[in-house]
């Protein structure tokens, strides 16, 4: 029985990982090598030519830097907004708090794409089209992020907060000194979520950014893949470059990410 279970798990893992591993292998193949029959699993003579081409001619270095800058800025800023709001929804009282929260949850059903076009026109009037501001500002606060933080913050013992209040600390001091350290796991989870989401987002940056110098990796890859339909190995190298950073971040912080997901599920 154990063999079956582990065998199936192995098959599942192979199914999940095979495309990614092949992508890695193909990125080291010589141009044209991947288009042979039978399709090769490993490069005959591994070469860095594709990566060199990407960085030298396709300007991937700049897109990589853009992606890092954008993802970091968006994550940092949105954390501020979401954590404050999530804590408030959990622990601070204000009129209509519960109703407002339920309303926001309901809004999760609305597909974000409805808002795309009017949002674009709105950003045009604000002068934020073709800037990173236009990419970041709509994503500064997310209902899902607030929800995650709130669920987690519900578990902060009220007595702790009361004690601090009795001692005369202001709400801001309490937030900074007591709450944030307690929220560290969910903050990291949310940070990973946001980082992944911003890094992988290609639709909105594709629409907002027209200046090629501002492109992020996914956007550049989308353009590249439509232009160089025949250069598969080059595309694979581009894909590796786009996927590797998030995979590394994920591997490093997966404990928090999965814990956060699980906690969100169980608390409900």
């Amino acid at each position: 029985m154990g063999i079956i279970v582990n065998g199936l798990l192995f098959a599942g893992a192979a199914f999940a990982l095979f495309p990614l591993l092949w992508m890695l292998a193909a990125s080291f193949m010589a141009p044209g090598e991947a288009s042979t029959y039978p399709p090769p699993l490993l490069p005959a003579h591994p070469t860095l030519a594709n990566y060199r081409e990407l960085f030298a001619h396709a300007g991937m270095g700049r897109y990589l830097a853009n992606s890092i800058l954008l993802a970091a800025a968006a994550t940092a800023l949105s954390l501020v907004f979401n954590v404050m709001a999530g804590y408030a929804f959990a622990k601070l009282h204000f009129r209509g708090r519960e109703r407002l929260f339920r309303l926001m949850l309901g809004a999760l059903v609305i597909p974000g794409q409805i808002a795309m076009v009017p949002l674009f026109l709105m950003l045009k009037h604000m002068g934020l089209v073709d800037t990173y501001g236009g990419v970041i500002v709509p994503a500064l606060a997310s209902i899902f992020g607030i929800f995650l933080v709130r669920q987690y913050a519900l578990s902060i013992p009220d007595d702790l907060l009361e004690a601090a209040r009795i001692d005369g600390a202001s709400e801001w001091k309490i937030f900074g000194a007591v709450v944030v350290p307690l929220l560290k796991p969910i903050i990291i989870t949310l940070a990973v979520f946001t980082l992944l989401g911003t890094w992988n987002d290609f639709m909105w940056p594709l629409i907002v950014l027209s200046d090629q110098n501002l492109y992020t990796l996914p956007v550049a890859l989308a353009s590249l893949s439509r232009e160089h339909v025949q250069d598969n190995e080059l595309m694979m190298a581009g894909s590796v470059l786009t996927t590797l950073p998030v995979l590394i971040v994920f591997l490093a912080l997966q404990r928090y990410y999965m814990q956060g997901l699980m906690m969100g599920a169980v608390k409900g």
Partner: protein, 305 residues
């Protein structure tokens, strides 16, 4: 409570309310301005015939009421997109949930080794960039040099033109979407499984129940609430199919992978018929809302028993 104490208490409460608003105001402001407002604007736009003429000169705008909606419902392409989307949901959700549940059950089993490695491996596709992996999958699904056809040929199946044949393009997209997403729900379900108390299983084992019986009478019922919620959310998410056809097939071949949201994108950003595009988006929203409502009511009914 003495009167003055009550007054002091209510004043402090009011003060704290104000602080609370300061905490939520920034986030709420962003959501209101950059989400709620555009959605309302989209509703307004859907009642006009906003197009590139209007983009050039606003006096070319006409308010047409529900005409966009009526015209959409009369357009065969809309129904084709709707059909494609339903096909995707009907086939993709069970496959995806089945894969997620199966993987979660396997991971949860006491017989599983290297759990954290398998868990990470099975989850990895979720964090990848859809553009990047679509490039890989486009290649793996290639007619002549793709691995899938190579594997199929070893069991004697002739090469299939996955992305060029209207009959097989949507199955290819479904396969891709399932691969990319199943890890997400797997983690949720795993959490749910880990919450089922062990004593139940112990008791059942002592009573001589087989593994299958344990699955049927303990695991699934205990998991049902979470499974139900996951199903609702997955269905709502799958109705919003867009990225995969955009990157892999551009809605083709013969519009067999054109989803409702893709239709909206084409109307809106390719032809700049914003009125029509907004109408499509709202129709989709109404559809998702109705389906979600039906499901939650059914779920509530089932659990009320």
């Amino acid at each position: 409570m003495i009167g003055s104490e009550r007054v002091a208490r209510s004043r402090r409460r009011a003060g704290r309310r104000q602080v609370a608003w300061c905490f939520v105001a920034p986030a709420l402001l962003v959501i209101a301005v950059f989400f709620v407002l555009p959605v309302v604007a989209a509703l307004a736009i859907s009642l006009t015939d906003f197009d590139i003429y209007a983009l050039a000169d606003l006096s070319n705008l006409r308010v047409v009421g529900l005409r966009n909606y009526v015209e959409l419902l009369q357009r065969p392409l809309f129904w084709k997109a709707l059909g494609n989307t339903f096909y995707f949901v009907a086939a993709g959700v069970p496959l995806s949930l089945g894969a997620s549940l199966g993987a979660a059950l396997l991971l949860n089993s006491k017989l599983a080794r290297f759990q954290s490695f398998f868990r990470t491996a099975l989850f990895a596709p979720v964090v990848t960039t859809v553009v990047a992996v679509a490039v890989i999958w486009r290649y793996l699904l290639g007619t002549r040099y793709g691995f899938l056809n190579y594997a199929l040929s070893s069991v004697g199946i002739a090469p299939i033109d996955w992305l060029g044949d209207p009959r097989f393009a949507m199955p290819a997209i479904i396969l891709f979407a399932v691969w990319k997403n199943f890890g997400y729900n797997m983690i949720i379900l795993l959490a749910g499984l880990q919450n089922i108390p062990n004593e139940l299983y112990e008791a059942a084992r002592i009573d001589g129940a087989s593994a299958f019986a344990r699955l049927r009478f303990i695991t699934l019922p205990m998991l049902a609430p979470i499974l139900s919620i996951v199903a609702i959310l997955t269905i709502a998410g799958y109705f919003q199919l867009f990225a995969e056809p955009y990157v892999m097939t551009q809605g083709g071949p013969l519009q067999s992978t054109l989803s409702v949201l893709y239709l909206m994108y084409e109307e809106g950003f390719k032809y700049w018929n914003l009125g029509s595009a907004s109408a499509v988006a709202f129709l989709l929203f109404l559809l998702i809302f109705a389906v979600t409502l039906l499901q939650t009511r059914a779920a509530r009914g089932r659990f009320a028993r």
